[in-house]
């Protein structure tokens, strides 16, 4: 392929920076990247042309201020292919917990002068504002996912994302189910694979940081959690956690909170 090197931008919104680290933590392969793409904007790494037109934009973070909204529209306009990285960019992140509460009250509880800070009442994913070409879930996404997507885009392919539950990854790793063998309330059955089933491999239940998988039977799992001894609030907290604003988990949380006995 004799084309010019594609241009890449990495944009950050409300986030912990953890998803960009998928690139910055690549180690030596990081130095290979400039052979493949022309990095025009990646503030944390140095290059800073936030308004440049690019082929691929990787976007980290949720949209939570009016300025964010303006900026993400700009990014969309400037990008041929926009990838939302991580649970913040796909679903609003942990900070979307604020959506369930009175954000103003929270602001005044923390800041003496909250009026100085201009924020939206909600924290949401990028696709709530602009068209997103690819969503990579995960809090954080892992390097392999990002590289695979880049690799595909560079060779002109649509990236593909495997849609499976964490359980399958877990079993492939040869880990014994922690829910069954330890009674851990594990979110693996309703969580999208991609992390490598880290939590069960570390002896604990999955806490759903990759967000919902394709078919989420939250009622059945919630029922099981209760049988393991969790009270209804504790069950709600499992769904209303890292990916609380993802539709399936949000619905589950709302329903559980609504009437814990109506099941």
């Amino acid at each position: 392929m004799n084309r010019q090197k594609p241009k890449l931008a990495v944009h950050k919104f409300s986030s912990c920076d953890g998803c960009q680290l998928a690139l910055l933590n690549l180690g030596e392969p990081l130095l290979q990247l400039p052979d493949l793409v022309d990095i025009v904007h990646f503030a944390e790494a140095g290059p800073c042309e936030s308004d440049a037109e690019v082929d691929i934009s990787l976007v980290e973070g949720s949209i939570s201020t009016p300025e964010d909204v303006r900026r993400i529209r700009q990014v969309r306009e400037n990008s041929r292919f926009l990838v939302a990285l991580g649970v913040c960019a796909t679903y609003g992140g942990l900070q979307a917990l604020a959506n369930f509460n009175d954000r103003d009250a929270w602001m005044s509880a923390i800041y003496p002068q909250p009026q100085r800070i201009d924020i939206l009442p909600t924290s949401k994913g990028v696709s709530d504002y602009v068209k997103v070409d690819l969503q990579l879930q995960g809090c954080p996404v892992n390097s392999a996912q990002v590289l695979n997507a880049l690799r595909d885009l560079l060779s002109g392919m649509k990236p593909s994302v495997a849609i499976q539950s964490v359980c399958l990854e877990c079993k492939r790793n040869g880990v014994a189910c922690v829910l069954v063998s330890k009674g851990e309330p594990c979110m693996g059955p309703v969580t999208l694979a991609g992390c490598g089933a880290l939590c069960p491999a570390n002896g604990r239940g999955c806490y759903g940081c990759y967000g919902p998988s394709e078919l989420v039977n939250d009622a059945s799992l919630a029922h099981r959690f209760e049988a393991l001894g969790l009270d209804p609030q504790a069950v709600t907290r499992r769904f209303r956690f890292i990916a609380n604003n993802a539709a399936a988990f949000k619905a589950a949380g709302d329903r559980l909170e609504g009437d814990p006995h109506e099941r």
Binding site: S155, R172, C177, S181, G188, P189, E214, R224
Partner: protein, 338 residues
């Protein structure tokens, strides 16, 4: 060996690593190891995996390729010989089903074969049945019935050992063994009869199970679908399930790639995906695919059901769905076949 709260095959360097008196408690959706005070080494039944991962690898590279010019290179596994100790009858039966699947004459799988050939199988008669076991009704246990290299039965006073293959024979020939006496043989029989009698579950007979295909519209499917998480654990722990997925992985510079295959499940979306369409879009359809295939489809494909009664899919289902009950319910209630 006991590892992370379950029996698992793991590399062993000394007999001390086996825990005398260890037993397992298995119920739908629940598995616990119990440390008893006996000194028997094989009083447990099994853990989440049978022999499957040792032949049909959960994830492996099938071949690698180079881009310019396009070249494909075989990548067969370099498998060192291993001995699996403590394999049960249900798993040996499952292994022979997988052998038939992966090694059938039209399309023998070289990767599977390579691993399979390196196995030495030391089978053990089950002395107890777990609550979830039903191998008696499938005719696959609890006593060993072929497929092993060396068979073992554990008596209070020691082990009965016998060769099951030429390979096994060369090993037993080299051991200083005492011939078993009648009383010992009797105990051996008694132990497995007792294990058989302990079983609480059973699967309907094959001919009956074929009728599942005539009950595709039964309302009970929805009942299961309401509970099933479509997580695929049942397929992953089942010693006969063989579905896999393939995909390419390219190097960062785009010059090389490899073809990787990994366990898939009929509960995942990709399993029935066709451009723009999911043939099985909901939990009901996926569970129905699993159960009908396992219990009816296999009969046509392999001459027997795909279930050897190990009960893993019951124990390791996070919500305790029990195929023996579901199958029975679908065959029983609402008597009309369609």
């Amino acid at each position: 060996m006991a590892r992370d709260g379950a029996i698992q095959f793991a590399e062993m360097t000394s007999v001390e690593q086996l825990s005398p008196g260890l037993t397992n408690e298995q119920q739908p959706g629940r598995y616990r190891l119990r440390q008893g005070d006996g000194d028997r080494l094989f009083d447990w039944n099994h853990g989440p995996q049978g022999v499957k991962p040792h032949c049909f690898s959960p994830r492996e590279v099938l071949w690698s390729e180079q881009g310019e010019p396009l070249r494909f290179q075989p990548r067969l596994p370099a498998q060192a010989p291993i001995a699996l100790v403590g394999v049960r009858a249900c798993d040996l039966a499952a292994l022979s089903i997988q052998d038939k699947h992966f090694l059938h004459a039209d399309a023998p799988d070289p990767h599977y074969r390579q691993r399979r050939e390196q196995l030495l199988l030391i089978g053990v008669d089950c002395a107890h049945s777990a609550e979830t076991c039903f191998c008696v009704s499938t005719g696959d246990g609890p006593a060993l019935d072929g497929g092993y290299d060396i068979g073992i039965s554990e008596l209070d006073e020691g082990f009965l050992l016998w060769p099951g293959s030429d390979k096994g024979q060369t090993i037993t020939d080299r051991l200083a063994l005492q011939p078993a006496d009648d009383r010992q043989l009797e105990s051996m029989l008694r132990i497995s009869t007792q294990a058989a009698e302990e079983q609480q579950r059973s699967l309907p007979q094959p001919a009956e199970l074929r009728r599942l295909y005539r009950r595709l519209e039964h309302s009970h499917w929805q009942d299961v679908a309401d509970r099933c998480l479509a997580c695929g654990n049942c397929t992953a722990v089942c010693p006969t399930c063989f579905c896999y997925d393939t995909g390419h992985e390219m190097s960062l510079d785009g010059e090389n790639a490899q073809m990787v295959r990994q366990w898939d499940s009929c509960f995942s979306a990709g399993h029935s995906y066709m451009a723009g369409l999911l043939v099985r879009a909901n939990v009901l359809q996926r569970y129905r695919q699993w159960l009908t295939h396992k219990l009816a489809g296999w009969q046509e494909q392999q001459g027997r059901t795909g279930c050897t009664g190990c009960g893993r899919c019951i124990s390791w289902c996070p919500v305790g769905i029990d195929l023996t009950q579901e199958a029975a319910a679908i065959l029983r209630e609402g008597s009309v076949d369609v």
